[in-house]
Symmetry: C2
Subunit: 209 residues, 2 copies
DNA sequence: TAGATTGTTAATCGATTAACAATC
DNA sequence: TAGATTGTTAATCGATTAACAATC
């Protein structure tokens, strides 16, 4: 096992590995070789072995990988078993859609609460998650120390809200506001979701085919 | 200008260039050098010039780039001015959120119609887009020839629906179903949006900080 | 003109792939 | 055991960065 900085390329492949292994696991597949996994994922067996070697030795010569085991190992690397707590800030349509459809528990996130400013939403429940007033956010965070915030609020409040949340101790932002957030505070991470980028990539591809 | 295959790395940076240039444009900035753009975007000036050189010569020695012009050029490369037509298939919460919040027009997509199976939704209007019965989909596509379909339907119908849509002539899928879609048909492209991947990347990062 | 900044070529760096000894 | 397949080292390939002549 190599001990060096893990490249972004590798990190971004991990969730995909996890998805495929989870799928195999749910189908009851017991073992798989880097070769056949590579075939399914359209990548080389070499790359899979190289990637995994950054984190340890999970296979066995002549056998391959045990699906359940490798799935668990990659899940562990991704922090799925850390019991991270997450809150949803902004319960408009997008926040609503995520609360309704996204299985936070499946990737190890415990979702406690959602927050909104709109009086009609406060007190209602989506998929067992209660929507609270945004005014309760500071005391809530102080008490329960969630790790990550899903940001589905209007653009104009995004950065200032993020700054407040960072002050309160939030360390990760799953940011759907289309504003590129940033901070000076170390140890805080953003995943900025830019829907428009993927649609433009698609636009590019169909434009020259 | 180099004439060669454009790498995926370059293609995926184009939408980001467009976003930054659009922002500068809206702020009324007239010109920018590769150096100062690179500073803003946290990439090297060299990379910007190298990337742009795949598509033409858009700058001027001693001056830099005209923001409005470069924005328009990259928009053109991305196919923003092709007047692509797009439909939304599935008007649940996520489809609803996209119809409500996403500015399709801003990236050159004309959104005509949305489709759902649920009787309560059929006939209603979100943001000027009428939701039609999914039964009308074939005749609609035949008549209006949309290019791209946004897929926000349940997982179990995703692939079969995609196959049907491909038969009808749809060439691009903005796929939010979390099913990795594919086809043998050439000239058809998928952008598979995996929310879970980005959240897991975030999980990874906060887990080791 | 002089200074600034491009587009492009060459150099470097890193990521992917190939090869293979080790071993289950 | 023999065959299969790993983990790792070396080779290749491609992407990023640096350098600079061209020129606005």
């Amino acid at each position: 096992m190599k001990r060096q900085k893990i490249s972004d390329a590798v990190i971004h492949r991990l969730p995909r590995y996890y998805r495929y292994l989870d799928d195999l696991y749910n189908k009851g597949v017991e073992r798989i070789s880097s070769n056949s996994l590579g075939l399914r994922m359209s990548i080389t067996a070499s790359q899979i072995r190289q990637d995994l070697s950054c984190f340890g030795e999970f296979g066995q010569q002549g056998y391959g990988y045990n699906v359940a085991e490798l799935r668990a190992e990659i899940g562990h690397i991704l922090g799925i078993d850390n019991g991270h707590r997450i809150i949803v800030v902004g319960a408009g349509h997008l926040g609503h859609a995520l609360l309704q459809n996204f299985d936070f528990g499946k990737v190890g996130f415990q979702i406690d609460s959602a927050f909104d400013r709109s009086p009609e939403l406060i007190g209602t429940t989506i998929h067992d998650v209660t929507i609270r007033s945004i005014d309760e956010l500071p005391s809530y965070v102080e008490q329960y120390h969630p790790d990550v915030a899903v940001l589905t609020v209007p653009q104009n409040v995004a950065q200032s809200l993020a700054d407040q949340l960072i002050d309160m101790g939030i360390r990760g932002f799953w940011n759907f506001t289309n504003v590129e957030l940033s901070t000076q505070v170390p140890g805080v991470f953003f995943e900025n979701i830019h829907f428009v980028d993927t649609l433009l990539t698609l636009s590019y591809r169909i434009s020259r085919s």
